[in-house]
């Protein structure tokens, strides 16, 4: 199973970019928003945690279809399914690889992007913490969505459509935790909720995703 993780990381590094691309995309989203809504600090600062969370979510989203689609197209998924490797394990490994290449860089870089959006420095730890707790859930939920839509030609948009509603609770609690923390309010409850969602997803979704994959291969 580690072999699969290593292979996936290697593929994403080889095939150009790897860790950097998600980051660059995140940067661009944070730059675009001020262009859309205007440069005033009074407007930007309060919405900063929300924007960062939405940006993280979109960066995850855009890289999701790669989780299974390429393997499906070149036939590896069939071969993996017949290999002595529990499908659930394969799903988890793929979600981990996705998180390492997208989620983790975002967590680490969040303060820089926060500064770009005129977020006060008190908020940095909170945004990092909430992203660190929440992005694994994003990857796992995304892997489930990718498993549902693998093999569908119109994957990209359909996948987003399926996955975004599933992301909503994570987003709400995550953004809430970050903005409460930034404003100096009590943020323990939403943080706990985010952690709960992540744990729950990691515990249950691999089974659902593996089932979806098996059905799609049929």
């Amino acid at each position: 199973m580690i072999a699969l993780l290593i292979r996936d990381l290697r593929l994403s590094v080889r095939a150009g970019g790897g860790f950097g691309l998600g980051l660059a995309f995140f940067l661009i989203v944070t730059v675009l928003v001020p262009f859309g809504v205007g440069p005033e600090e009074a407007i930007l600062a309060p919405i900063a945690p929300g924007i960062l969370w939405v940006g993280a979510l979109l960066a995850c989203l855009l890289s999701l279809d790669r989780i299974f689609q390429l393997d499906y197209e070149d036939g590896s998924l069939d071969l993996l399914a017949t290999a002595p490797l529990p499908m659930e394990g394969a799903v988890v490994m793929k979600a981990v690889a996705h998180w390492l290449t997208t989620g983790l860089p975002l967590v680490l870089a969040a303060p820089v992007f926060g500064a770009l959006l005129n977020m006060p420095p008190e908020g940095f730890l909170w945004i990092m913490g909430s992203l660190a707790l929440g992005t694994p859930a994003l990857s796992m939920i995304g892997a489930f969505g990718a498993a549902l839509t693998v093999g569908l030609k119109r994957g990209g948009l359909l996948l987003s459509l399926l996955v975004l509603p599933l992301y909503i609770p994570t987003l709400i609690f995550g953004a809430e935790a970050a903005s409460r923390g930034m404003a100096g309010f009590e943020a323990g409850t939403p943080m706990l909720m985010v952690a709960g969602i992540t744990l729950g997803s990691l515990a249950l979704l691999p089974f659902a995703a593996a089932a979806a994959l098996r059905i799609n291969l049929r």
């Binding site: 069939d78 071969l79 049929r218």
Partner: protein, 213 residues
Amino acid sequence: MNAPADALVVRDMTVARGGVPVLAGLSFRLDPGRVLILRGPNGSGKTTLLRTLAGLQPAMAGTMSQPAEAIAYGAHADGLKAVLTVEENLRFWASVYGTDAVEAAISGFNLTGLRSRAAGNLSAGQKRRLGLARLLVTGRPIWLLDEPTVSLDTASVALFADAVRAHVAAGGSALIATHIDLGLEAEVFDVTPYKAQAATDPAAGGSFDEAFL
């Protein structure tokens, strides 16, 4: 049937594609040390049968028995990663199957010179050779192969036949769907007569969507 425990035995199987039965009433067995060639015109259902045997889709009816973890499946598509090298591709599958036969596989399919080439830069036939080399690293005894010699030149076909012979000599077996003559000593199983008929009698085996009829 009193098959040895390590034979692949198929009894009265019906396989379906897209909900439609394509082959019905199939029964055959594949003993260790044997090669069975699957024949049938285009669209007769060979791929469907092989996918069912590999466990990728359920059979509509019938049973099949086989030793545990014995099957290696080689599909129409090779499952190669274009950006990984020939060797990396094989090493990955070797570690998935927990074997260590990479070198043998590389030399067995004459890939030594291509070892560190990215798989995406191979020609069609070279890719196919790599796809076949994957079989050797699985270490599995029963090979299910779907048109393995597509795009291969005559020398490579001979290489493949040698590999099958060596595999069989070592107690393995192979079920090969193909349209061409591989020069192997093998039984032939023609699926044409088993073409599924539109089931007029609901008890006849096929049962797709019959609830709606």
